[in-house]
């Protein structure tokens, strides 16, 4: 329970500096608009902002009133308006409507738009088209790395996933490169770089360009982090599609952890109000159970509760002096622990209740069958029934994707007839993103390809073919699983209390593919011997290694690994790698475009009104 780190495990760098940097930069930007001003904040930026600054800091810098950016006319009477937004077209239109309304009313104010983490030319184009370019001043708040925990940095860009993996828009690659550049500036160069995936490769190249342009800054610095590993989400969709059963993942699946905190409703708090709780290493109770398989958590919590009781009970028989000591020194800690314990016990109960209602057991059984590739027919009919019962459309979609990817598109449920007409667009998106692979209509594709290649020279034709490969690619999951031993052979029960491999995060049934790849590459310090796996992943051109001869790297730093997930990572993957780290004496640091899970992946694929 709550495995300790090996004594030789390296210390994590201090990432709180990133918060300070972001805060100082924001203050600087606010000061660029001297005097009183009202601040309009985009909803998606509120939680991240919360984590680095608070209202009183904003007030200190003459922010008068705060508004949420939403499609409503602004009631602000301030002479200066400041907008803190993501670079989105709809935000530009909103701002334009405010400014133009002011103009019509003959009112002059000062406007400032602060884009976070950067501005896009398409946004400026809209400002220009709407006739307000020049009326508003633009700034960038390069806040792209939020430390959610001691080992977890999030870019808080969930749209990265859809923008890149569905639409093929590379707009965030520069943001990633900038973030990596910032990290190398602060924590020294990374002597060993590995990556897999088209996006990973592009981000890496752009980052390298950046470093070359601004060389000198990181040169000569001692590296603090020995390895960096970049990985595209589409290298492993399967893991992200699975139901999570480690505590933190389960809490995320059930209650949705947002920006490192969760809203526990009355059913958890056993009072009449909801409670917003920060979930990170500082929560001592949570920290001990977050990576545990759910089946262990109850036992652990009740043991904890008994210990706590015993500590409280020591009061009896204390004399006055001891009692005074107890109250002044221990009671506060005990009370805090008590509070946390009862919260997590409440959360567990609520999870149990919800999961029992959903026939979670049967669901998990089906998922495991899909992962292992047996009883496909049974699983297929389970999924069909799931769709028929309309238990949850998102869940059904997820299962269909899991079936389709694990079976390489060979198995299909008669989903369309069951699903109803309203999901047409979602299905089309899922297919485009490669989450739903159907038996390739091979001819169609070749026809398009040959048509296109006729138009261009041979050299370019190669490029075009690989632009198409994302559409055509088959998942080859079964073959990869065999090559990498993703399904552990178990003699007897898999002991979830004493996990022996990363498969414990899925009840011993499956080692997360993403984590296995990382493990294998780190072991070899290269992709050597993994050619076949890389080929099966359709990544032959996108698996790379780059080592610099870096004798300055301490042995400690060489056991620190930054893993960059492009398109999001799940808490299960984080738990699995934390486990690997403890086994091998490494420590992993996670950088993700956003924390994700299966429901978020599916939701990102649905179409809503513009």
């Amino acid at each position: 329970m709550a495995f300790p780190h090996r004594p030789d495990a390296p210390e994590l760098p201090d990432f709180s500096m990133l918060k300070r940097l972001a805060r100082d930069q924001l203050i600087y930007l606010l000061e660029q608009l001297p005097g009183k001003k009202d601040l309009f904040i985009e909803a998606d930026l509120m939680s991240p902002l919360d984590r680095i600054a608070n209202v009183s800091i904003l007030k200190q810098h003459e922010v008068d009133k705060l508004y949420k950016v939403e499609n409503k006319p602004a009631l602000s009477s301030s002479e200066q308006l400041c907008f803190l937004v993501r670079p989105r077209i709809k935000n530009m239109r909103y701002i334009a409507s405010l400014v133009n309304a002011d103009k019509l009313a003959g009112r002059t104010r000062k406007y400032k738009v602060i884009f976070s983490p950067q501005k896009f030319y398409a946004c400026e184009m809209v400002l220009e088209e709407e006739g307000i370019y020049g009326d508003v001043s633009c700034d960038e708040w390069a806040f792209s790395l939020l430390p959610l925990d001691v080992d977890l940095l999030s870019m808080e860009l969930p749209e990265f996933f859809r923008d890149y993996f569905l639409e093929g828009d590379q707009r965030w690659i520069n943001t990633v490169a900038q973030a990596l550049h910032l990290l190398s500036t602060l924590y020294g160069p990374f002597p060993n770089c590995y990556g897999i995936g088209r996006c990973a490769k592009m981000a890496y190249e752009l980052w390298r360009n950046l470093e070359e342009e601004e060389d000198g800054e990181t040169k000569g610095r001692r590296p603090e982090i020995g390895h960096i590993f970049l990985l595209d989400r589409d290298v492993d969709f399967v893991t992200a599609l699975c139901s999570q059963v480690v505590y933190e993942g389960l809490v995320d699946d059930t209650f949705r952890i947002k920006c490192g905190s969760v809203d526990f409703g009355p059913e958890v708090t056993s009072s009449d109000k909801s409670l917003k709780v920060l979930l990170n290493a500082e929560d001592k109770v949570f920290n001990e159970i977050r990576n545990e398989h759910f089946s262990n958590v109850f036992g652990f919590l009740s043991q904890k509760a008994r210990n706590l009781q015993a500590q409280y009970d020591r009061r009896r028989g204390m004399d006055i002096k001891q009692m005074k000591n107890f109250v002044s020194q221990e009671l506060k800690g005990l009370k805090q622990e008590h509070r946390l314990l009862s919260l997590h016990i409440g959360a567990c109960e609520s999870i149990m209740k919800k999961k029992t209602k959903q026939d979670f057991q049967e669901l998990i059984k089906t998922e495991h069958a899909l992962l292992e590739g047996f009883n496909i027919r049974e699983s297929t009919s389970y999924i069909e029934e799931h769709i028929d019962r309309q238990v949850s459309p998102i869940e059904s979609l997820r299962l269909m994707c899991l079936l389709s990817i694990t079976e390489n598109g060979d198995a299909r449920c008669s989903s369309d007839t069951h699903y109803g007409p309203e999901h047409l667009l979602t299905f089309s998106n899922l297919r485009r993103a490669g989450l739903l692979t159907e038996q390739a209509p091979g001819d169609t594709l070749t026809a398009v390809e040959s048509k296109v290649s006729k138009l261009v020279t041979d050299k370019a034709a190669g490029k075009i073919t690989d632009a198409f490969s994302s559409l055509a690619k088959r998942s080859n999951f079964r073959a990869i699983s065999k090559k990498l031993n993703l399904i552990p052979r178990v003699d007897g029960e898999y002991d979830l209390k004493v996990p022996r491999d990363m498969a414990y995060v899925f009840s011993g049934a499956y080692v997360p593919l993403s984590c296995r790849i990382i493990e294998q590459v780190l072991e070899r310090r290269s992709w050597q011997g993994l050619d076949e796996v890389v080929r099966l992943l359709n990544c032959s051109d996108f698996a790379f290694t780059d080592m610099t001869k870096e004798d300055k790297a301490s042995s400690e730093s060489l056991r620190l690994i930054l893993v960059v997930f492009l398109g999001g990572c799940t808490f299960s993957e984080i738990s699995a790698l934390r486990f690997l780290g403890r086994e091998k004496g490494y420590r992993f640091i996670f950088l993700t475009t956003a924390v994700t899970n299966s429901a978020r992946l599916m939701e990102a694929m649905s179409e809503v009104k513009a």
């Binding site: 077209i89 950067q118 501005k119 896009f120 030319y121 398409a122 184009m125 809209v126 001043s137 633009c138 700034d139 960038e140 923008d163 639409e167 093929g168 828009d169 590379q170 707009r171 965030w172 690659i173 520069n174 592009m202 981000a203 190249e205 752009l206 360009n209 342009e213 000198g216 209602k357 026939d359 069909e384 029934e385 028929d388 019962r389 309309q390 459309p393 008669s414 369309d416 007839t417 069951h418 109803g420 007409p421 309203e422 047409l424 667009l425 089309s428 296109v452 138009l455 261009v456 370019a460 490029k463 075009i464 632009a467 198409f468 179409e607 809503v608 009104k609 513009a610």
Partner: protein, 444 residues
């Protein structure tokens, strides 16, 4: 900044710094060469300074020293001490529109690099198709989507769409960026033209169909969906589009009718169970559930009858039964539930049959808080004995458990179950009677 000598040489000679060769000032410029320190500062100044700053300050011929970065400037003016500073300053601070005068200022690669840094940078000087395409290719090879889009915005403005489309067809990465850009800014017309040009008929159809999401008014939305019916979807999707249209058409009729019934207050079912929401734009299965809930007994001829929906939309048997069961169980209409699973054979015998399996029926009934007598009836119909026993135990259908154990002649299990029933209850008595019976040949 510490540059080595080699670096500086390369820096100076490499083409990417051509930018600083101010055409008509070669003489003065040659003096710059003398001070490498100054060059570096110049680079700092030009490359790292925010053009926003420069833009905000409209050039009025004031000495540059009034600018915001005195540090950088200081070294610049030192180096240029015997050249008129003013002749450089306007260049640095020139508003973007004027860059076109300096047609050789930025090579395509310098330009995209500047764009990547978020700087204002005019693209107007790229006038030949070749230049434009080179610019695009530089942007693509740099990988920054924001820059690719910036170049595309320029290309879209300065090329006819036929030429633009033709060139993008062989440049897939750029093409995807344009498609996404058009989606985002909502230029539906150009997007459809593009798909038409590319012969991507399915995407064209989907893109057109997507528009319905933006239409709130149900009648208008229905009319719009009608225009989608003939579009070149895949054959599967075509059927869905037709269904989508028919479904909304139905929903509009049902909604009008039921809203009226509900407000009239004469119909019992609406009085007892007021509708929680309108049925408009709900999914097919929700509509079926609704119809099973409010219109179960209607004749097949009416639009709102469940059977009619089932036929029109070819709803599979299983899905129909599951939905009807859930709806009728919710209303505790046990007779309807019973009828749902009763079939008559040609001799007139009735038989119980469930396409979804009775184990599933039991679970759904339990979820809807069916009483034990009802549950029991269906648990008994579960064929697999183990499943039956499990369900009976789970849902406390004591009689079924006891009878099954008796039939299995499983004395041990019956003994074990005795501890689960209430002391002194009828069930306990029944178990005791069985256990003491000499009629049964227990297997254990």
């Amino acid at each position: 900044m510490n540059r080595t000598k080699g670096d500086e040489e390369e820096y100076w000679n490499s083409s990417k710094f051509k930018a600083f060769t101010f055409d008509d000032e070669d003489d003065e410029l040659s003096q710059l060469k003398e001070s490498k320190r100054a060059v570096n500062s110049l680079r700092d100044f030009v490359d790292d300074d925010d053009d926003d700053d420069l833009e905000r300050v409209s050039w009025s011929g004031e000495p540059v020293g009034s600018r915001t970065r005195p540090g950088s400037f200081q070294s610049l003016s030192d180096a240029l001490s015997d050249t008129p500073a003013k002749s450089y300053a306007p260049e640095l601070g020139r508003p973007k529109g004027e860059y076109r005068d300096y047609s050789n200022d930025w090579s395509p690669s310098d330009t995209v690099r500047r764009l990547r840094k978020g700087k204002v940078c005019s693209l107007e000087r790229f006038r030949s198709l070749q230049d434009k395409l080179q610019l695009l290719e530089e942007a693509v090879s740099m990988h920054d989507g924001n820059v690719i889009t910036a170049v595309l915005i320029f290309l879209k403005r300065t090329l006819s769409k036929e030429i633009l489309f033709r060139e993008l067809e062989v440049r897939q990465v750029a093409l995807r960026h344009l498609i996404h850009f058009l989606k985002e800014i909502g230029d539906q017309k150009l997007l459809l033209d593009l798909f038409r040009f590319l012969d991507r008929t399915e995407e064209l159809a989907l893109s057109h169909y997507r528009e319905h999401l933006n239409i709130q008014d149900p009648d208008k939305r229905k009319e719009f969906l009608k225009t989608c019916i003939g579009l070149p979807f895949s054959s599967e999707d075509s059927a869905h589009i037709q269904d989508h249209y028919t479904l909304l058409e139905r929903q509009i009729i049902i909604e009008a009718n039921d809203r009226h019934l509900e407000s009239a207050g004469q119909t019992e079912i609406f009085r007892k169970h007021p509708r929680k929401a309108s049925i408009l734009n709900m999914p097919l299965v929700t509509t079926l559930f609704y119809s099973c809930f409010y219109h179960y007994t209607e004749a097949e001829g009416t639009f709102s009858s469940p059977i009619n929906l089932k036929k029109t939309f070819k709803i599979p048997d299983k899905q129909y039964v599951l939905t009807a069961l859930a709806a009728r169980a919710k209303l505790r209409a046990w007779n309807d539930v019973d009828a749902l699973f009763t079939t008559k054979n040609w001799l007139g015998y009735t038989k119980k049959r469930a396409p979804i399996g009775f184990h599933r029926v039991v679970e759904i009934l339990h979820k809807n808080n069916a009483p034990v007598q009802i549950l029991q009836e269906y648990v008994n119909l579960v064929e697999d004995v183990d499943t039956k026993l499990n369900l009976a135990t789970k849902f406390k259908c004591h009689d079924v458990v006891i009878d099954t154990c008796r039939d299995l002649k499983d004395r041990q299990q019956l003994l074990a179950y005795r501890s689960k029933v209430d002391k002194g209850s009828a069930e306990e008595e029944k178990i005791d009677a069985l256990l003491s019976s000499s009629q049964i040949r227990w297997k254990n």
